[in-house]
Symmetry: C4
Subunit: 287 residues, 4 copies
């Protein structure tokens, strides 16, 4: 008991620095991490440009090592700081943090060998580091709530879009045929999605009068049904906005309370909350 | 009378399995059917890919026979289970179910002969099996109601889009002429719809300065008037959402009551309803 | 006075047939006119297809004469039927009706001579006959009101779109230059409108990294600001829908009262209205 | 004191002419300026068309000098007319007004030398004169307020779009590779933004089945999430429209009060306001 207290307070301090942003050290930790994330993404993108990679290969390699070490330290610190490390490790952010560190280590295995595809896939993995940014987006509760509330309706809508695409895609395959680029039903369905969503690449276009007529119909349909998800989400927002129309002061759109439960790491606590809304643990007791 | 009772209860059980999903057998029936539908669509799509069809032709042929037999059994069972078979046969789902079974049988007639176009059209027919899925979408009453309520306004809107397309299409035909690909008024109108709906394939594009000026105007018009159907549907949804703003618990967005009237097969009954809202028949009397 | 009465009632009857649709003759008149308008538009479109025109030139010529005569009779009858012919002649529909008749007559002047451009322009004029259909759209008061109410805001929005297009168009002209197809500022502004409205033809596309970066920004801007007109119109509709939320029976979305004032030809009277809302004239007094 | 009064009233008159539009002279000043702005933009655009510039180079040069002199006079008058010239000079409009005058003067320096790129950049600068028009747009308070109120949410949304684009762009780079035009991750991300925003140029398109499948997913995602900013802005407008639903007369959508504070030049005062809402200075005291 005697021994544990200093350790406890050390752990509590660490937890505060890593999971919260209301101390100078905590803010510094966040800023360093943000820079590392953004730099990492920029380097991954630059590395994919052949002419750039050829000239600055060594610089990119060293930078990648530094970033990997930063993320490794962050990952270890996060595991130490939380009370239930396994809960963190298998959480969404735990997996993202882990995946952010390993690519460079694994790449050591392939040194000498020339497994290009595996290396390319590893490079891809590094891009998922951008998901670390999601932690700082936390906010936007209202946005997430609106989307969550209208999700079943949007899914039904997207499913309907899919059925329409398959039927009209098959129809276009029959009408236009392979000469116009509608080489198979999957390709036709792809074209139909391109058209219905009003993207319209133009890599495949109908050339027969009847095909153009059906295409016109699909386009007007797509132009009209885009109103459906918009209407759903609009109504949901209007609904959520209701509370604000009754003189109640508007809550900040972006929630900046970065406090986090020392027990379960739940975030988005109310300001001045004393106990975790999720597990009931005291927010100030880092034991 | 003595003879009929066991038959009645047998029919009632069958009706329950086929038309409802609240018994284990009923759920199994639905799952088998869902797999058959989705597999069928995937096979139709794969068959259209020449390289795939060349290699796995026999497999696809056998799979199609199995699926056809499954749908045939389903069709016969549905006819037996309902009290008024003719009502089912000539209903939307009755026709879809029938069309789902025949293509393979008809294809037997063409064996030996080489009526390719007819065979392609038959292949097309099979894709309509996807409409069988609509039965499981049943839900989304609110979505359907909103669209139904705003339909006349959306039709007026689409009609206006059509008039605008014809006038500007003709104008572009006059201004750009055949050199730029505006070979006839129908093609010009097709281009105008492509542009107004913001699809923009790029297969035909204006090249003269005046043509580009008119095109810019059409695009900004299209960009502006997309607000109209969206506004209509949004307002309709806000309207339908009103009932929910008064503390009344929100009804589930997707209605999962799969009960169906043994007399008229009407669906979407209220939970615990005792009589069909459509024909007044007792929902538990399968006589 | 003795002489005038039969004439008066004859005129009243004619007015009823032409301007209203609540008598069998009136409905017949409307149906014939609708068929003539739609047939006329179809013939104009078919005439522009060279291969079709070459084969059926005589048929199209005769059909055009018949339609021209029908519209001429309609035009004369309308002038006779209204009390103030000049008001009709210089009204929107009066001009449309006049322009629907003259092209074929003027074409007689050019017989023998070969003024192709003039003839093409005349062909164009005939397409405006489609505006005659607007008379039957009459309805959609709510739609028109919403648009009218939000017009100033939409104009400000479109003007902002235009300023953005000019500035970014010039920027792209500087960045991409003529090599990528941005040959002049007007062309660049045209490209910018194509991109901002999410049409995206692809006839001109940025190829330099910086150009693609600016293009990405323009696209995300366009994707975001489409919300503005939609929001404006949605709010306007929600506003207009308010009256319907208070248990008041919903008025029909499409107003089918085709009664028309015998004095000033104003339309959209309330059902059972006795006096014109516009000029106060009795709706049943055709004197 | 004796000397200052006539000067004061002279300055007050000048202020009135330049900053307000409620006197004949003020209106004349505005009209001349509007013509100069629009003419200037048109000339810059025409100058970029090589064939036009070659033929009318001298005319464009003289026109540019006249416009530059008009804007120079305007700039000097504005400095004289306000009480705190430095505040004006470093304000948004002060900088725009300054940048509108200098390009032609600087171009004198480059005469003889052939610094084409600098000259092109100067030509670009002139286009920003269009921002002078923003002064006359002043209006649209409601539009600006709605956008301002929903800005944090829209930024979160745009940020999410950016994260999605980077992840899917990298995925497409891995799947499609350089053969299909996905030459690097930045190019892939550019393509992903083109697709997600439903622009769809078609300069780069997926060709592998799996690439087309991912592309379909991105398109449907883009088609669905366009609802989010629209919903946000719609809800904001509905909110702002609330005040209008309670019988209160609707304020004019475009605010035409062009009065401007003689002290701090703040605009958009209420009609009949006597004191500046910004600095409290009397609106009629030009001392």
């Amino acid at each position: 008991m005697h021994d544990k207290h200093p350790n406890k307070s050390w752990k509590a301090k660490l937890h505060r620095i890593i999971y919260e942003a209301d101390t100078p050290n905590g803010r510094l930790f966040d800023v360093i991490l943000l820079i590392a994330i953004i730099a990492s993404i920029i380097f991954v993108m630059l590395e994919s440009i052949k002419s750039f990679d050829a000239r600055y290969h060594n610089f990119l390699d060293i930078a990648e090592w530094i970033i990997t070490i930063v993320f490794t330290i962050e990952y270890i610190l996060r595991i130490i700081a939380v009370k239930k490390p396994f809960k963190y490790i298998f959480s969404f952010y735990g997996i993202v943090d882990f995946l952010s560190t390993i690519p460079k280590y694994i790449s050591l295995i392939f040194i000498g060998t020339q497994v290009f595809i595996a290396l390319r896939a590893l490079r891809l993995l590094r891009v998922f580091r951008i998901l670390k940014l999601a932690r700082y987006l936390g906010a936007s509760n209202m946005l997430a709530n609106s989307l969550k509330a209208s999700r079943p309706k949007i899914l039904v809508f997207l499913f309907a879009v899919f059925i329409v695409s398959i039927i009209f895609g098959t129809l276009m395959y029959l009408v236009e045929g392979e000469a116009s680029g509608f080489t198979s039903i999957p390709v036709s369905v792809y074209w139909c999605i391109v058209t219905l969503t009003t993207v319209g690449f133009g890599d495949i276009t109908p050339v027969t009068p009847f095909g153009q007529f059906i295409a016109s119909f699909i386009m007007i349909l797509g132009y009209g049904i885009i109103a459906v998800p918009t209407g759903i989400v609009s109504a949901e927002y209007v609904q959520q906005n209701k509370g604000r129309s009754t003189g109640v002061p508007t809550p900040p759109a972006v929630d900046l309370n970065t406090e986090s439960c020392p027990n379960c790491s739940a975030e988005r606590h109310k300001d001045h909350a004393k106990y975790c809304y999720n597990c009931g643990h005291s927010l100030s007791d880092y034991s």
